[in-house]
């Protein structure tokens, strides 16, 4: 019997500091055992429990795409005990990982459709995975227009900056990067994500939208999507709840009768409307 509580061991290959505040870092991990690497198959939207033995575990979204074969990326904001310890880790250290956990963005349902990606702050992680995945040549042709709207408070708080600037140059997608407050020589959009969304006004026709960000952004983004004619079945959110087991046993992360760790973290807004607003 496979033990879902046993972490697989990985090694930190690289660490990137993502923001000016230096409290968001991306960890590049590679499996120590070959069989673990082979067994770890996932799709964008899923997460994993990262663990530092002796300290504890934290659920973190997988920021790399399944098409990036040799490593996994996790972007972690320093918050409490485990994430703080993780931030003190160095290249070469061992990190445990359990997963992949949870469901995925509705990639099969997005076939033949436009994809609209809306992200805010450091919650862009699994959306990055999705963009990367769709941009892969063999996947790209399955989808129609790919639009990315991503924002942060200030330019220094945008994550994956180098990649964003690369995406801006590509014709395979349209990228709109915005900040709430510009500084210095900022040349791109200024304004909160929902406002930029309204300006860009992507068609709701045959489109699926994936939304991830802080609660306030989500709230106004939902209103904007509604104004643009999106139906609740057409947009998906990735939710967060405090978690432990990650496999629907410990009873911690439920919203109504759904467990975010097992039935989520991705829910369509239509599904969420049927659940109590307790998150």
């Amino acid at each position: 019997m496979k033990n879902p509580y046993l972490p697989m061991l990985t090694k930190i290959e690289d660490i990137v500091i993502e923001n000016e505040a230096r409290d968001i870092k991306t960890f590049k991990l590679s499996f120590i055992k070959k069989e673990d690497k082979e067994n770890f198959t996932f799709l964008p939207g899923q997460f994993a429990e990262l663990s530092i033995l002796g300290v504890g575990e934290s659920p973190i979204g997988i920021a790399s795409s399944p098409t990036e074969k040799d490593y996994l990326l996790f972007t972690v904001k320093r918050a409490g005990v485990v994430t703080t310890r993780l931030h003190r880790s160095e290249i070469g250290e061992t990190i445990g990982i359990r997963g992949p956990l949870g469901n995925t963005y509705p990639l099969p349902d997005m076939d033949g459709k436009n994809v609209l990606i809306i992200g805010g702050g450091f919650a862009f992680t699994t959306l990055r995975s999705t963009v990367k995945y769709i941009l892969e040549k063999k996947n790209r042709e399955k989808y129609k227009n790919l639009t990315v709207i991503y924002g942060a408070r200030t330019p220094g708080e945008l994550i994956y900056k180098n990649e964003l600037w690369e995406w801006e140059k590509l014709k395979e997608l349209k990228t709109y990067i915005t900040v709430d407050k510009a500084n210095g020589d900022w040349q791109r959009h200024v304004g909160v994500v929902p406002a930029i969304l309204k300006q860009v006004a992507p068609t709701a026709d045959n489109t699926i939208a994936l939304v991830c960000g802080p609660p306030i952004m989500i709230k106004y983004t939902l209103l904007a999507l509604n104004e643009l004619g999106f139906k609740p079945e057409q947009f998906f959110l990735s939710l967060e709840m405090r978690m432990k087991c990650g496999i629907g046993k410990c009873g911690r992360c439920n919203i109504g009768h759904k467990y975010v760790c097992k039935d989520g973290p991705v829910f369509s807004f239509a599904e969420l409307q049927k659940l109590p607003p307790e998150y």
């Binding site: 019997m1 496979k2 879902p4 033995l53 504890g56 432990k244 046993k249 607003p277």
Partner: protein, 345 residues
């Protein structure tokens, strides 16, 4: 033999010790013991220590399969090498002898969560596979029992492999599952049961059932509970101190925490019982808490048992054992909570 008698057999009282000792030779047996006055499931080393006139365990039988504190894995804190927790597996399998039908039913709910729901929980499942459940029908329910109101009963069989009923001078034994049949096979102390034995049992059970006084009607409850913002949630929690005792004693509460500890250069990841009645249960690292007050936490406890479990498993995750009523420091009575909700406009 008549078809309906097929799974029944009779054990005479004078043969009981012989019967029990035969089982003791082949199995580790856990049950209510005289040495701790039937407070909890204990290892039984001789038939004399067995206490069959107990009412019910103070602690439910869940502890045996889901210990309050359990090692999930061990590790070496310096090298990070993970070891499956080492455990000496006993060559003998286990018999859980004499738990009440409500605890057996509660185990079947644990099965749904830990054994039948993917992925399987290996720690629970392993203990469950090793064990056979022999439950003991209730002749004298306690005043706090309300099993009949929530789909359980004094002679409920679900969760048990064998159910035993104490007749006036004999034991009536019924095998409920293949596992039960297997264990009783070739036991020379067992003789065929007759229709009179069944009649005697039915009479005893009818008498026992008449001792169950609760008349809460949970069928109508689900619909009331579908209204998440109903006004009764403002009041039903008011006495609650949030101590979590109700959930610790409850045979169906399965929530747990996972923590790491390092001691003398060995590390362990352990799971411990946790409770939805605690504010930390859902507190995010950001400080946000989706269930910030007693109101939301009481609502979660009631809804998990009486609404969400129905959505997910078509079951009510309460077996009416009354432990939460007996042990609550402020006498918060779940029967009254249900009643209040039912009566709310």
């Amino acid at each position: 033999m008549k078809k309906e008698l097929e799974n029944y057999s009779i054990l005479n009282k004078e043969d009981f010790n012989k019967f029990f000792n035969t089982l003791l030779g082949k199995y580790n047996i856990f049950g209510p013991s005289k040495s701790d006055k039937g407070d909890k499931l204990n290892k039984i080393n001789s038939a004399d220590d067995l206490m069959l006139d107990y009412k019910n365990f103070k602690m439910s039988a869940k502890e045996f399969f889901f210990p309050q504190c359990e090692t999930l894995l061990a590790f070496d804190p310096s090298t990070g090498i993970v070891k499956n927790r080492s455990e000496d597996v006993d060559a003998k399998n286990d018999i859980i002898f004499g738990i009440r039908p409500c605890d057996a039913l509660a185990l079947s709910f644990f099965d749904r969560v830990f054994k039948d729901g993917a992925p399987q929980d290996p720690y629970y499942t392993e203990k469950r596979h090793r064990s056979t459940i022999i439950s003991l029908a209730c002749l004298e329910p306690e005043p706090t029992c309300f099993c009949n109101a929530v789909g359980c009963d004094v002679d409920s069989e679900t969760g048990a492999d064998i159910i035993l009923t104490q007749l006036n001078s004999r034991y009536l034994i019924k095998s409920v599952t293949e596992k039960g049949i297997e264990i009783l096979k070739h036991l020379k102390t067992l003789i065929p049961a007759t229709e009179d034995d069944i009649k005697e049992k039915d009479e005893l059970m009818a008498k026992a059932k008449s001792g169950l006084k609760s008349n809460v009607e949970v069928k109508a409850l689900k619909k009331k509970l579908d209204d998440f913002d109903a006004s009764f949630w403002q009041t039903v929690h008011q006495k609650c101190l949030g101590c979590g005792v109700c959930t610790y004693f409850c045979p169906t509460c399965h929530c747990f925490d996972m923590t790491d500890e390092v001691c003398n250069n060995t590390g362990r990841r352990i799971r411990t019982w946790d409770s939805c009645m605690f504010p930390l249960f859902t507190l995010h690292a950001s400080g946000h808490n989706p269930r910030p007050s007693y109101k939301e936490r009481m609502r979660q406890r009631i809804l998990h048992k009486f609404n969400y479990a129905q959505e997910n498993y078509n079951e009510i995750f309460c077996v009416g054992c009354g432990r939460c009523i007996i042990n609550c420091p402020v006498n918060l009575d779940i029967r009254k909570v249900i009643q209040e909700i039912l009566e709310a406009k």
